[in-house]
């Protein structure tokens, strides 16, 4: 018997309230996405036709329309947006890991009283506005921005580098904003690592870099995967960063969805894009849950 479950009704309430909230406002909406993605756009409010329509005198028919999905497969725009999203998400995840792993490692190995302030410094930018952090990069990267002014002032370049509105700017923005999401889980796994394992390895004749490759890295894999998925999944649907830092040729699913929805008012097409994105994200999500559970179980 658990203290808080003294009465079954209390127990049921504790479970039911959050469950129904999430089922209603998180799970159920996906069904509507699916439904609308199968309907036809129309010039009305809301701008889609119902799947179940009354044709005449009470005759009801179900009209399912796959043309949105057909369009996704036929028009190369959408497939290249999917490819663009995958590419940006994969490359920036890689760079987040390359920068975040050494940082997490350095924090985990720093003196005890330094760790909390160092972690706070990682989290602190996250508490300032996301939009404003992207805005800061506009000021740095644009043609007459800080970076170009600095490089030209130093005489390193003659004409401004074109970084703004290129994929490079998108990568910088993504890595900058998602870095804390890899550092924190990596730190959590590295700090739990039993240091006597390294001493045992050293005692058995293992050199430092080999200790890292054979002991530290394999044991921190759950943190690596969890951190990677925490970046990869949301970046797949990222809208603000490609919109503000990327150029017209930066094709990503999130941005395209936004355009279809807000500019073209094509709700059914936007829904089918959302459905496509959801399907693509199932595998990384399953990976994330698997490794988060493993790192929880490894936690005594």
């Amino acid at each position: 018997m658990k203290p808080t479950s003294a009465r079954p009704s209390t127990r049921h309430l504790i479970i039911a309230v959050p469950w129904f909230w999430l089922a209603l406002f998180f799970l159920l909406p996906f069904l509507f996405v699916l439904k609308i993605s199968l309907s036809e756009p129309t010039l009305a409010q809301p701008p889609y036709m119902d799947l179940i329509r009354e044709i005449e005198d009470g005759f009801v028919t179900l009209v399912i329309n796959f043309s949105n999905y057909q369009l996704l497969l036929e028009d190369s725009l959408y497939l290249s947006a999917l490819w663009g999203s995958l590419k940006v998400a994969a490359i920036s995840t890689l760079f987040c890991l390359l920068i975040g792993y050494p940082m997490a490692y350095a924090i985990a190995r720093s003196p005890l009283h330094w760790r909390l302030p160092l972690l706070m410094l990682i989290i602190l930018p996250f508490w300032t506005s996301f939009l404003i952090r992207i805005y800061a990069w506009i000021g740095i990267l644009k043609a007459n921005g800080l970076l170009n002014n600095l490089l030209m002032g130093l005489g390193l370049i003659d004409s401004p580098l074109a970084i703004m509105h290129t994929p490079l700017a998108v990568y910088i923005g993504v890595v900058y904003n998602y870095l804390p999401f890899v550092v924190l889980p990596l730190y959590a796994t590295l700090i739990r690592l039993d240091l006597t394992l390294l001493e045992a390895a050293a005692d058995l004749g293992c050199r430092p870099w080999k200790q890292f490759l054979l002991i530290t890295l394999p044991l921190s894999m759950p943190g690596v995967i969890a951190g990677a998925m925490l970046v990869f999944i949301p970046v797949m649907g990222e809208f603000v960063i490609p919109d503000l830092l990327g150029g017209p040729d930066t094709l990503m699913l999130g941005k395209l969805m936004w355009t279809e929805f807000f500019s073209n008012k094509d709700w059914p097409l936007a829904s089918s894009l959302a459905a496509l994105l959801l399907v693509v994200l199932i595998l990384p999500f399953v990976l994330l849950r698997h490794f988060e559970r493993r790192s929880e179980e490894g936690n005594p």
């Binding site: 658990k2 203290p3 808080t4 127990r11 504790i14 309230v17 959050p18 469950w19 999430l22 089922a23 406002f25 998180f26 799970l27 909406p29 996906f30 509507f32 996405v33 920068i99 050494p102 490692y105 350095a106 924090i107 720093s110 160092l118 410094l121 990682i122 602190l124 930018p125 996250f126 508490w127 300032t128 506005s129 404003i132 952090r133 805005y135 990069w137 506009i138 000021g139 740095i140 644009k142 007459n144 921005g145 002014n149 900058y176 870095l179 430092p208 999944i233 949301p234 649907g237 990222e238 809208f239 603000v240 503000l244 936004w258 807000f262 936007a270 959302a274 999500f285 849950r289 988060e292």
Partner: protein
């Protein structure tokens, strides 16, 4: 071990420089006289006074703060319930689905959350007439839905580390279950609740995409105003806004640090 030390310090220095130089540049140029954000032409605080005269922006900020406070409060209640269910009850019908629904919003792209909730609200309005139109209520519901997942994660880890015999001891000394929850459990997980509230507040205050989908005419939040102004080009007013936000956050962190430090000192004094 010793010879690796300089390398680790260098890594940290570069890492933190990468994180903080953009923010520092925002602050410096918020005091620039010129409208051209990146050309320094002299010290001025004019953008701060312009910001304070910008009624559209101030109105949006006030709306955002209200939404964020409501969201954070609701999210703490719902997230704590979810955490209690997951930590305290080992087996129940719907456990698997609750676990998934609590983890998924943490990574779910916000375009999907925004679009799907909008479609739900539109359908619900057609079916039962609620919510009538979209605005503050729908934004609060949407924000609560993803923020409660973050709260649940924070509270879950605190609850999991709590010694269950504390609650048993209170029951044993004659406190009824509800009283045990309010006099023992709640005070012990309070730090997690506060952290969760602040996290939910920040997430809500920061959200552009979800709010853009589920908002209606008349409900323009701060990120929407900032977004449209940033789209039009760089504006020193945004630098001033950024500086104020950074100052507030820094102040909050310093206060929290000070409180913790004083508590620790007090504890040490008590001990002697």
């Amino acid at each position: 071990m010793k010879q690796r030390l300089p390398l680790l310090i260098t890594i940290l220095l570069f890492g933190y420089a990468f994180l903080y130089i953009p923010i520092a540049s925002l602050i410096v140029y918020s005091f620039n006289e010129s409208r051209l954000v990146t050309v320094w032409s002299g010290f001025s605080t004019q953008w701060y006074s312009k910001l304070l005269e910008n009624e559209q922006l101030l109105g949006a900020a006030w709306l955002s703060v209200q939404i964020a406070a409501l969201t954070a409060t609701l999210a703490v209640v719902l997230g704590t319930l979810a955490a209690l269910a997951l930590v305290r009850f080992r087996r129940f019908l719907g456990r698997g689905s609750l676990e998934v629904m609590v983890t998924a919003p943490l990574v779910m792209p916000d375009v999907i959350i925004g679009l799907s909730l909008l479609l739900l609200f539109v359908a619900m309005e057609g079916l039962i007439g609620w919510p009538a139109g979209r605005g503050m209520t729908t934004i609060v519901i949407a924000h609560t839905t993803f923020a409660m997942a973050y709260v649940a994660v924070v509270v879950q880890s605190r609850l999991a580390h709590m010694d269950l015999s504390l609650e048993e001891a209170a029951l044993d000394l004659g406190a009824r279950p509800l009283k045990v929850f309010f006099t023992i459990t709640l005070p012990i997980i309070a730090p997690a609740l506060i952290a969760g509230w602040l996290l939910a507040f920040t997430l809500s205050l920061d959200d552009l995409v979800v709010a853009s989908f589920v908002s209606g005419p008349g409900a323009t939040t701060l990120p929407m105003v900032v977004y449209s102004s940033v789209r039009l080009g760089v504006s020193p007013e945004i630098n001033a806004l950024a500086t104020i936000i950074v100052a507030l956050v820094t102040l909050a962190v310093l206060i929290a640090g000070f409180v913790l430090w004083r508590q620790e000192k007090q504890n040490r004094l008590d001990a002697h």
